[in-house]
Assembly symmetry: C2
Homo-oligomer: 296 residues x 2
């Protein structure tokens, strides 16, 4: 999807949040805001939201010299999610449809803000997401495609969240005899998971881990590695988590299952759902097998 | 309170919202955003959040020539709230403590987004607010001060919301034999109530209506009229609704009862409450009569 005017104030806010992690000095934080505004003025919004957000993160790096402002937060997110892991497994095995529950948990991983840190609240939020229906739920088609799958690619999003992804991948491997590749970013990018995060949560136990070869948000196609592109193109089932992946992949014709919460109006509009809703959406939609009407 | 760095992205977002009401042309909307950013770069944050937000509204006026972009919305908000008026009165008279219910309704008027327009939802939201306790509730002290009051000043906020204020003023006048002055803005300022709005909802039936003499957000002391200042200073009970009034009056030593929802982190911090919470707060707090501990 293309960036919209709403992305401009949002990018500045993201820059401020990141500036505060990189430095405690309000003068430097202000300098960062001013430089981001200076770069945004007049810049045509031709790229994805992520392409334009990258400006904010680059400015923070340039001004403060801090390569990975989210480093400590990511350690914390992984720790909180790993503490939750036994409970997540329990929720899956005790449910009527473990695979569907695992998909819901993967969405919960995208919804909850591990930054709050109070484990009790996180558990309550997980249960809240389990009760919330997906606004778009292409689970049935997913199960059918999974049966025939030989190679599945799973593009991760945030640190911490990847523990929830691991739970889903474990269920996927029970259902299907397919190779699973898990994708992390190629370099520091907001609180997105890197190889270090995948190692921290033991992702290699359930999937081959590769990176995008880029530190850009989502999958900036012009900047990702040949290795990533090859894996992406040859997979027969693709899962991508979160807004950054959706924003950068929504215009591709290769079918992808997106699992995410619509955290801004622009993404909600693009997904055809309400703000704040969660989806498990195959895009493009599979052709309907039971009717002649176009897929919804 | 002083503006903070968080105000910068917020002002740009406010500018975009207002630009969209003033013009449908995305090129003009973009020009407005760029001009706002140009004005914000390097500007020291020495004023209140409102002082700095005024930049956004001025730029919209200058670029589009539209004096009051919220004009139609204000008509709509008044109409929706007036339709709700009989139900609000019913809620008050059927309650155990009509004055407290009327204060809660005044808060509901600040919470609900009349822009959504579906009356059923608005009613549900009103009931939701009635169930939500104030995070700070100085109602008891208010009742005591009201008993002795001769002159009460009530500074309004948004169009539509002022119908809820009228309900509270009606209850105040049942409890206390005092003159009530209701204050609107002196000129177009976001969706804030003007004299026309006060007329539309029949505010003159329950209060003398004056304006601030300024089209600035809240009460920009350097810019308000002598008439307003005199009324404000001689009142023995003061009520002010919403964030704009709080932001601009929070540093005054004259006691004021603020009724509002904390719609941003900076205001929540200043109020000492959580984001999204509602308060009925006397500021500065009244000296405690029952203990030697300092007032909370």
């Amino acid at each position: 999807m293309r960036a919209v005017l709403d992305c401009i104030p949002c990018i500045i806010r993201q820059g401020l949040n990141t500036a505060r992690l990189a430095t405690d000095d309000p003068k430097v934080q202000r300098e960062i805001l001013d430089r981001i505004m200076r770069e945004l003025i007049g810049t045509p919004l031709t790229g994805t939201p992520g392409d334009h957000s990258n400006v904010a993160y680059r400015v923070v790096r340039e001004v403060t010299g801090v390569e990975d402002p989210y480093y400590e937060l990511k350690r914390k997110y992984n720790r909180i999610a790993l503490e939750l892991y036994p409970r997540l497994k329990e929720l899956v095995v005790s449910s009527e449809d473990p695979l569907h529950t695992a998909v819901k948990l993967a969405a919960a991983g995208n919804v909850i803000d591990l930054g709050i840190g109070v484990q009790f609240d996180v558990e309550r939020e997980v249960e809240e997401v389990l009760r919330t229906p997906f606004s778009v739920d292409h689970f049935q088609g997913f199960v059918e495609e999974l049966e025939r799958a030989e190679r599945l690619i799973y593009i991760g999003d945030n640190a911490g969240e990847i523990v929830f992804d691991k739970v889903l991948i474990e269920e996927i491997r029970k259902e299907a005899d397919c190779e699973v590749t898990f994708v992390v970013r190629g370099g520091p990018c907001i609180n997105d998971a890197l190889r270090e995060d995948a190692e921290e949560v033991g992702m290699e136990e359930v999937a081959r881990v590769i990176d995008t070869g880029s530190d850009g948000i989502g999958i900036p196609w012009a900047d990702v590695s040949e290795e990533f592109k090859e894996e992406f193109l040859k997979a027969d089932v693709r899962i991508a988590k979160g807004q950054g992946n959706f924003e950068t992949l929504s215009e591709r014709s290769d079918p992808i299952y997106f699992i995410l919460k619509a955290k801004c109006e622009a993404v909600a509009r693009e997904l055809g759902v309400g703000y704040g809703e969660i989806v498990f959406k195959r895009h493009p939609a599979a052709p309907s097998r039971n009717s002649l009407s176009p897929p919804s």
